[in-house]
Amino acid sequence: MEPARGMDFQVVVLAGGFSKSLVPLVSKEVPKALLPVANRPVLSYVLNLLEQNNVTDLIVVVEGETAALSASSWISKTYIDRLHVEVAAVPEDVGTAGALRAIDHRLTAKDILVVSGDLVCDVPPGAVAAAHRRHDAVVTALLCSAPVSGPSDSGSSGAKDKAKKPGRYNIIALDPTKQFLLHIAAGAEVEKDIRVQKSILRAVSQMEIRSDLMDAHMYAFKRSVLQDVLNQKETFQSLRRDVLPYLVRSQLRSELMSNGVQSDENGNSKDAMQNSKILPSQLLANESTPSFHELYALGPDGSASITRKTHKCCVYIANKSNYCARLNSIQAFSDINRDVVGVANHLSGYSFSAQNNIIHPSAVLGSKTTVGPQCVLGDGSQMGDKCSVKKSVIGRHCRIGSNVKVVSSVIMDHVTIGDGCSIQGSVICSNVQLQERVILKDCQVGAGFVVTAGSEYKAESLAKKERP
């Protein structure tokens, strides 16, 4: 199957910019898109996924000029001769809807696949596109089960007592066939009551409300509809919070296609009246059973006495075995790094050794130093004697002393760690220096920071003061 390209989809990757929720991991030099996951920028996971699915042309939208520059230079260096990528810079904080509005003129294909640049997943975008096309939907969203944070994995350590907070995921209502999206809200944003429209429930007669699914931020949009909504609703900022809920809410009372933009696309201009008349025969031709939208549009007893315009919002629910996570918080950063070298190591693109780890040939290990399974040690890094590394990712060209313990942590490039340090559940950014006998537990250390000898921190965020 050759999904995306053959089907006239245009692919847009929204790579974000300098994300406040990820301070101190991100910095001017390292925008969110370039944060390392198993020593590779997170953006590479999306780009590789698209490449594997035969997408060659795509637009990457980055917020902020500097961030766009660094992303652009990395992409052109890495994907030269592989992908044809246009990098578009948009102002900061315009939101996802704003970002698309800014590149409106570049959107030309019939359908647009919008993917978040912080997505780490193995769900083929072609499947989403196919579901979208099958139902002639205005939007199709990829939904995933809550991320597999390795409970099946025997040795995985603690830090997962966050358990199940329903606030973290979306509240999603589906029809009984699990193909149509009837209601969506972010769990955290629902104050007390979930409000479900009776008219939609009446039309579909039964719906299922779930809180165990996550909106993966991969959407297929009908281009004309997307542009209409973005132009008409100028206040819409976010795809997830504004555009998608709007489309879902108005699906039985569509305000779209009123200006006939859509019919041009199909090559046959048909107005609303004709449209409703053609429907029954279309239904017979295209689908075995009409969806509730068509039945509703037809009115009671199939009499077209009332004509209604409807549009379809679909979902593609990823298989439970698929991995899917978004790097949108510090917790997620640690989780994804752990998973990509652990339960979801097929995503890493590395081939693991017999010990189920990756130690770059150029890395140097001292005597009695052990690197456990589910670890990565980048090229040029050196470790002293009697060190122990468990379930951690260590970047390139790090200098690590003796008697150092690293457990469930991420250490980026060019980090210096003195003798006798102990690092657990922490993230150490590039160029950080940890002097002797530093003890860190559940900390984040921003780029270039120096931790003085013998200090001990727990659950803290250490970073240099921002220079104005």
Binding site: V190, E208, R210
Partner: protein, 727 residues
Amino acid sequence: MVAKKGGNRGGEDAEEELKREPLQAILLADSFATKFRPITLERPKVLLPLVNVPMIDYTLAWLESAGVEEVFVFCCAHSKQVMDYLKNSKWFAQPNFAVSTIESHNSISAGDALRLIYERHVISGDFILVTGDTVSNMPLTQALKEHKERRRKDNNAVMTIVIKQSKPSSITNQSRLGTEELFMAIDPDKKQLLYYEDKADDHKGTISLDKALLMDNASISLHNDKQDCYIDICSPEVLSLFTDNFDYQHLRRHFVKGLLLDDIMGYKIFTHEIHSSYAARIDNYRSYDTISKDIIQRWTYPLVPDVQFFGNCATKLERRGMYRASEVGLSRSAQIGPFTVIGNGTSIGSNTEISDSVVGEDCVIGSNVSIEGCYIWNNVTVEDGCKLKHAIVCDGVIMKSGAVLEPGAVLSFKVVVGQQFIVPAYSKVSLLQQPVKQDSDEELEYADNSSGIIGIPSISSIPEKLNDQFSTKLSDSQRRAGSEVGDGGVGFIWSLGEGGHEEEWRHSVAPIPADRLVEIIKTATDALEISNQDGNFLPPSGELEPDSVDNDSDEDARDDYSYFEKEVEATFLRAVHENVKEDHIILEVNSLRLSYNLTSTDCAGALFYSMMKLASDTPHDTPGELVKNVATVITKWKKLLKDYLTSIDEEIEVILKFEEMCLESTKEYTPLFVQVLHLLYNEDVIQEKSILDWASEKEEAEESDKLFLKQAEKFIQWLNEASEEED
């Protein structure tokens, strides 16, 4: 079909349990509604014939076949008629099926009925609760087993209601059974009922589900396609719950919703869905029509006219769903259409056409009569040339030649329709005059459409009186009523209810006119449009315009709360002056809480407010005396207050409430804030932790809001130090 091979041990236990206790049922032979008026002024609803058999016989026959061993028939309206009927029937003589009656003269709701039954102490275990207008053939074994299994695991699972898939159309409820549309939320795995809305309270376009429901259930099914069969399997607790909550009247609107909203007791209701069997309740004329047709079309097998399930007459099923009793005088030229039942001893004249109708016993139908979709009971005379369409004609009615019944007409007992008279659509004709509104003050209280009363003594005694005085009265009323139903006619045409035609067509036996159908669907759409319009401006999130909707409800809530507070205060003052026991106050406050749909935190706040108000209203000269008053009141009533202070939250609410009083209503307290706070602490009304939590909560407030925090600074510091010392 009901193969129940108790494979595992649990199943066997359940069956053993089943055997030990006789299976009991409560049959409410009173619907506590007025939908079948004027017919029910003269005969109780359960005795009205449904395809020539009184409704109650269907219910009893089903209960017997389903393995119920003991039935308590609760009679209220026309109780004598019901009891007489049962006495003369064979029901009292069945082996293994004990039927006994419980009579009441003053019950006005299902709630009253259940409270009365509770007092009789006749129910020993799980029981079936149905009304006497239920037609069903469902087996109860599976539902009972599920109910008992759930009970064993969780004592709070008090009720299982039976539901059924209804036809998949958005207006099925209205078009088929004439009932309101029903929205339910059900846990798909545990089958627990989480939400129930049977009557669109206001025409809101949305259903609000508490987000907390999703904490316990990963997934919830919302249904608009289910029908409530009004067959409930209840635990004995249901009866005591009705007794505890004396304001519960309606089974669904009060009891079910009350339990769903009440998260304190944690009672749970479950659903049991039936698929292949039949269950429905005759709620109004429309469901009477639908269920009659279902019976004729044999969906209710074995409860069908040609099976003798109770003393009904031998009837033969002929071609095309036509049933004919053995002795029918049928003219050669009469045409009996499909799906028609003709009772014993009825004669039908020449060239008469009857289709989709039920004709009772000993009727005389003349020539050239056309009857379509009608229900004609016993001893009815229809003279030549009459035309009847979608009407109900009760016993003893005489239709003079050429009279016409337009769709939806109802002729009550012994009405005489004059020659050539046309009874207009949806009109109801009775020998009894329409009761004037003032006659039934009480009715107004529960007359919200479906739960009025028939049982008030003045009305229920009418038929008896009527029978006695009928001969003398008849000529009298004949003269007065004559003009209303044509020349030589007898009867009053009732004026239509408040809704007028608007409501009549919904519940009539006549099919819904096409234009109405369109209208219903339109309203469904309109509701959506209203809700969407505001949403278009700027939906701040995935939610529907929280602002525009919430504003109203917020104000309502505030209003509600102030009423609630006043009522609590009044209750409390009454308690103080009349020395009412604390338990009783708690009961009253709880019922107030339920009726205003508030939380126990609100109760704590309101009660505390009442107490402080009492203290400040007690005469005093100096602030010192005021503090003394407070001390007296608090010491006396702290037990009551403590009853509502179950957690830190409630205690903080008390402090916040006090702050509010100091700022707004009772400024006298302003300088005494710390003193009173200290007092509350010393009296153990408020724990140290609550005060500290309150303080830290306030820490983030605006400066102007910290007035009392500053006052209490030293006290808090002292508390802090004290706790540190303890550590």
